[in-house]
């Protein structure tokens, strides 16, 4: 029986809605951002649903106040707004305050990367992995399909902590039809390969799969790792997997070389004393107002399947020759 792909937020909010009827400590706070499932939450739990209006600073402040009073808070807005409009509120009253006041806060940012294709750079989000992973005490979660997104929910409810969940705004194909990856690992070795391993997050895992297929056609089978926990993945586990490779290629729908997934992996490789060559597939730093489909835009900014293949093919060939 095939499973129908769903929007990450719909599946995640459905779980929140279900849990709210048994866990009276859950609060849902939105900055005037909705979804069909959200209508059920505000209908059924009006005492624990707040729309603060278009006011993300207040969204975070209200969230902090509720959280230090013991509520488990899910705060919900478009990804660039819930991270960047209110970054200092997040830093001061969540990341910093949580050093002394334990809290359970889950910031749900919808609209990773170019998911809001026609809305332009204000609604698109290429900086959030960088800035959110810069904050101590924050876990940055970036699922590639709705199965993974749903699997993250139980940990959010059960554990004290601060989390940023980076959801795609569009429905993505299912990566894990049989079973969700193990949440505590933070990554999943989707495909084993020879010498070169792709490490990708969110939407770009789907691109990495397409690129791997094309690279496979010219005779090279690469490994593919889907990393969905950018901050708290098991470091020993990833190290063990990567020890058998000679090179990695990082894939992110965020700026290349600006502190995002690529930087995190390069730091990890250095710290783990892994001997790996690296290549980064990320958005050429810069803002563009051009319109087009997500794939067309991706090709223009250097992260589409074709442009990635162009960069990766010579890299893979060099690695294979050396070995």
């Amino acid at each position: 029986m095939s499973i129908k792909p769903l929007a990450m937020r719909d599946v995640f909010l459905e779980k929140i809605w279900q849990e709210m009827s048994v866990d009276f400590l859950i609060f849902f706070v939105s900055a005037d951002f909705g979804s069909p499932v959200l209508d059920k939450i505000r209908r059924d739990f009006p005492d624990r649903f707040i729309n603060v209006g278009i006011a993300e600073q207040n969204l975070i402040n209200i969230t902090a106040g509720l959280a230090i009073e013991g509520y488990k808070v899910f705060a919900y807005a478009i990804a660039p707004f819930i991270t960047m409009r209110c970054y200092e509120q997040i830093r001061v009253s969540l990341a910093l305050l949580s050093e002394v006041r334990p809290m359970n806060v889950n910031l749900i940012g919808v609209g990773a990367g170019y998911s809001y294709v026609v809305s332009g750079p204000t609604h698109q989000c290429y900086e959030d992995i960088t800035i959110m992973r810069a904050l101590p005490n924050f876990q940055v979660l970036s699922p590639a399909d709705h199965i993974t997104a749903a699997s993250l929910f139980d940990g959010c409810v059960a554990n004290t902590g601060l989390r940023y969940l980076r959801f795609d705004a569009q429905v993505q194909p299912i990566l894990y039809p049989l079973e969700a990856p193990t949440v505590s690992d933070g990554f999943y070795l989707y495909q084993k390969g020879d010498k070169v391993c792709f490490i990708s997050t969110g939407f770009m895992t789907h691109t990495a799969l397409k690129v791997a297929e094309k690279i496979n056609k010219i005779g090279f089978k690469v490994g593919i790792i889907d990393i969905f926990d950018i901050t708290n993945f098991t470091r020993e586990g990833l190290k063990k997997v990567l020890e058998s490779y000679s090179a990695i290629v990082s894939f992110e729908e965020g700026f290349r070389g600006r502190g995002g997934l690529d930087s995190m992996l390069f730091e990890f490789i250095a710290e783990s004393e892994l001997n790996l060559k690296t290549l980064s597939i990320g958005v050429d730093p810069g803002y563009s107002f051009e319109l087009g489909s997500r794939n067309e835009i991706h090709e223009k900014v250097g992260i589409g399947t074709e442009s990635a293949v162009k960069k990766i093919q010579p890299f893979v060939q060099t690695i294979m020759k050396k070995s």
Binding site: I60, N61, I68, Y71, L96
Partner: protein, 275 residues
Amino acid sequence: MTTDQVNNLREKVLWVWRETLAIHRRAPETRLASSLSVIEIFVALYYGGVLKFSASSPLDEERDRCIISKGHGSICMYPILADLGFFAMEELQNVCQTGSFLGGIPDPVIPGYETVNGSLGHGLGVATGIAIALKTKKSDRSVFVVTGDGELHEGANWEAIMFASHHKLDNLHLIVDNNNISMLDYTDSIVSHSNLLERLTSFGWDCVEVNGHDVVAVLNILLEKKNKSRGKPKAIIAKTLKGRGVPGLENESLSHIINPKPELIDELLDRESEL
């Protein structure tokens, strides 16, 4: 209120004023002037029976929450919290010293502090979230938040101000230390707050002005507002003087960054002065 109670409060104000000067004398890194305008407000809150608190269990569920948002300008809370038993009085000797938890700006590691206050303009918003939480818990405890007037230039405050009245948060009390001086100038010369009462009233708050250096008047207003529930958040605009009682500091536009000479502080501390 009996004459004794009034005298006790006034003595406490003078004691806190002197202790604040003494702390600054030992730790000149602290900012003095903005701590001197707010003393009567804190004395009324903590000694006047307004706030319910537990020094031995600072995060006791049955406490009223007091959010001290003034950043630099609340060094005067150190002697108050020590006097009330939140921590040992000897700690006042160590302000800004290595290993002390009492810094130039109070942090939430200090028993009695609820939130992070160094960056201005965060206290009221977080207090608003706490007020919602208390309402949801059906708690009859209140949230008090003390801000400066300069920090009301931060827009996030106004997001909270709109929100609090919409949600009828009558358990939320804002006390503004309206000394009319920010770091570089009089707030009236920067972006004026001269009609703060009208502004807050028009935003749906139950708002009143008081002489912030009349501790009895401040206390009476606080008690009256706390016991009166009218479906509105409440604001008390306390008209105060920055750098109060210190020549060269009082109501000086640059008082925030002026350190009085140690000899002047010694002279003031030696004097049996009255404010």
